[in-house]
């Protein structure tokens, strides 16, 4: 058969060519896979880097000698002993102030211990080491400390402690916590969702169920897709111009009798975040509504339901899991966004819990940013701890989303 044109390698020639082709294929396949390996390695490195920073040796000195306060080794102090020491050591004014914040007797041993360290012994961190260094170079570190800081104690410390979660900001890294920041973040999430959820679902319902196919609908849809791609810092500028400045009387609470505030409140920031996550919210709700089969709508119309009754009783309940997943994505975004908060003026130092929409605020990512950009290593350590808090929050949110998705997944 076609003898006229035998220009293809046959037999062993074909096989040697084929072997070359397979070799190339293997090389490329390895290259493709290594891209994913790089991604995995990066993620591992990032997580390792954070953990590495949050635990490790600390060399510190006490400004005041523990022996001045008690003969007992300080680690063994009981709650009662600590109470006595604090009462004696602190000025009565300082003691009463603390007592007013929270009854001293009601405080736990560890809280009192921290007060003791902070107020009386006055801890002074000389150096910190990463977890890896601490585990692999323990002896060197001990030698180094003995030489450089003969009075210092060396301790392996987890910077992430229960107190870290419950104490507010402090100018000393050893005593700083993320309480104010976590509460601020929760306020932001609350305000943002309160705005974005109803508006987002409303917009999605309008676009999927009501909107006629015309140029206006087209523009709205394109516009939403575009808004989803606008850099977050631009939303920050919008929030600054509109909520912080233009609507200051409302967002500062001046219109409601609040006097000691300007527009840089958790309300302004929350609304800015609400607008930022709105496109995400709409797009996800649209997807969820789209997935509800038409037969359901027709069934509802068939028994004489109005459009809204159809939407309210049939479409929305069935789209709910998708809408919830979208909300969780929006919450995650609100928890992690930093740039717009800087622009609308998150406070850099604040230790009062936010207690109204008109409070000044800080947020978890803002604290991470602040602490990361400090030169002292102990601040990097608490930045790492705050990152762990943030990542754990985000991971549990996402786990919830996945559970929701699996639980409510319907097969039509």
């Amino acid at each position: 058969m076609n003898e006229q044109n035998r220009n293809y390698p046959e037999g062993s020639a074909f096989y040697s060519e084929l072997r070359k082709r397979y070799l190339t294929a293997t090389i490329w396949q390895t290259l493709f896979l290594s891209a994913l390996v790089i991604a995995v390695v990066s993620l591992t490195a990032l997580i390792y880097n954070v953990l590495d920073g949050a635990f490790g040796y600390v060399a510190f000195e006490y400004k005041n000698d523990p022996a001045e306060f008690t003969p007992t080794p300080i680690h063994e102090l009981t709650k009662e002993e600590l109470l006595v020491i604090l009462k004696e050591g602190l000025s009565s004014g300082a003691y009463n102030k603390l007592d007013n914040e929270q009854k001293m007797e009601k405080r736990s041993q560890s809280e009192l211990y921290i007060l003791f360290l902070e107020r009386l012994l006055q801890i002074d961190t000389k150096a910190t080491w990463s977890m890896t260094d601490s585990l692999t170079r323990g002896d060197e570190i001990r030698a180094e400390v003995a030489e450089k800081y003969p009075d210092a104690e060396l301790e392996f410390r987890s910077w992430l402690t229960p107190q870290f979660l419950t104490t507010p900001m402090s100018s000393k890294a050893e005593f700083a916590g993320v309480r104010t920041a976590v509460l601020g973040s929760l306020w932001l999430v609350g305000i943002a969702i309160l705005f974005a959820l109803p508006v987002g679902v409303g917009a999605a319902v309008y676009l999927q169920e009501y909107a006629p196919k015309n140029w206006l609908t087209n523009i709205i849809q394109t516009n939403i897709n575009n808004l989803a791609g606008v850099p977050s810092i631009v939303y920050g500028m919008l929030g600054l111009a509109v909520f912080v400045r233009l609507l200051e009387t409302l967002t500062s609470g001046a219109a409601f009798g609040v006097t000691d505030s300007n527009g840089r409140t958790v309300l302004s920031a929350g609304l800015t975040m609400g607008i930022l996550v709105l496109p995400l919210m709409i797009i996800n709700a649209q997807e969820a509504i789209k997935a509800v089969p038409d037969s359901l709508r027709q069934a509802a119309f068939g028994v004489g339901a109005t459009r809204w009754q159809t939407v309210w009783y049939h479409v929305l309940p069935n789209a709910l899991p998708g809408i919830m997943t979208g909300s969780i994505l929006a919450i995650s975004r609100t928890l992690g966004e930093t740039a717009p908060l800087i622009v609308v003026g998150a406070s850099t130092f604040i230790s009062l819990d936010p207690d109204s929409p008109f409070s000044k605020f800080t947020a978890l990512p803002i604290q991470i940013y602040q602490w990361t950009t400090r030169p002292q290593a102990e601040f990097h350590a608490i930045a790492a701890s705050a990152i762990i808090v943030l990542l754990v929050l985000l991971l549990s949110l996402n786990a919830t989303a996945i559970l929701l998705r699996n639980r409510f997944q319907r097969r039509w």
Binding site: M1, N2, Y8, P9, F14, R21
Partner: protein, 257 residues
């Protein structure tokens, strides 16, 4: 050798999708440089059988084959057989034309290039297009996208690119079912041309086409377990005039179902 005249032989060939047996116990000998048609109601496993001939089913997860499929006395599903070489020797034209999103010229040159073609590419392109009766229509627009062609032209381009790599056998799965009658006729004429050089196996559900164009016909039908099988295999004339099986008679005369 006894089977020198046969391009493909199957030996109790069964094809399974997971635990479901789609085609069962096929024994047939496909003669060289002839056109063999496979007919039967839809869902009876025609495509599945055809795709087994050049191991296209390898890409369907869970699909596996039992029994034997012999090409030149080698089992196509033997352990040391390379599927890429199998497909290079047994080309395929699909139901819907699927030219690559490249120029007309590239559509043909690509397969030749990957298979290590050493001759003059321009000549090969022209020769293949001529063999597929497409040259005159496209000779002035070889660099245009293949998507600009009509459906019938696209299908002939797919035939041309298959011819270009000079396979032994060409498989065609309802190659004309997506085409208009005039394009269909051209494809049929083309097949008569091609059988001088190639062995052709064609799946069709168009009875006239099978009767007109093929030398042999295999009739497939499903059994009560929904497994398809070849119930009759003979020359086309016999199948259409004196079928041995009642079901075949019902089917070819249109009395089926």
């Amino acid at each position: 050798m006894e089977n020198i005249n046969y391009a493909i032989e199957t030996n109790d060939l069964s094809i399974h999708y997971g635990s479901f047996t789609a085609v069962k116990g096929v024994n047939m000998k496909v003669e060289r440089q002839k056109i063999t048609a496979i007919i039967g109601p839809s869902g009876c496993g025609k495509s599945t059988l055809l795709r087994a001939f050049n191991r296209m089913n390898d890409f369907v997860p869970g699909c596996h084959v039992t029994g034997k499929l012999l090409l030149d006395n080698q089992n196509l599903y033997g352990k040391d057989v390379d599927p890429v070489e199998v497909r290079r020797k047994i080309g395929m034209v699909f139901q819907k034309p699927n030219p690559f999103p490249k120029s007309i010229y590239e559509n043909i040159a690509w397969g030749a290039r990957i298979n290590g073609f050493k001759g003059k590419m321009d000549e090969l392109v022209e020769q293949s297009l001529r063999s597929a009766a497409l040259w005159d229509e496209v000779k002035d627009k070889l660099q245009q996208s293949a998507y600009a062609l009509s459906g019938g032209q696209q299908q002939r381009l797919c035939i041309a690119r298959t011819i270009a790599i000079q396979p032994e056998i060409i498989l065609m799965d309802e190659p004309a079912s997506a085409l208009d009658p005039i394009s269909t006729l051209r494809i049929e004429e083309l097949m008569q041309e091609l059988k001088k050089n190639y062995t052709i196996i064609i799946v069709t559900h168009n009875m006239q086409q099978a009767a007109r164009a093929s030398d042999y016909t295999a009739m497939m039908m499903i059994d009560d377990q929904r497994a398809g099988g070849v119930i009759e295999f003979d020359d086309t004339k016999t199948i259409f005039t004196r079928p041995g099986d009642k079901r075949t008679e019902d089917y070819v005369t249109g009395r089926f179902g």
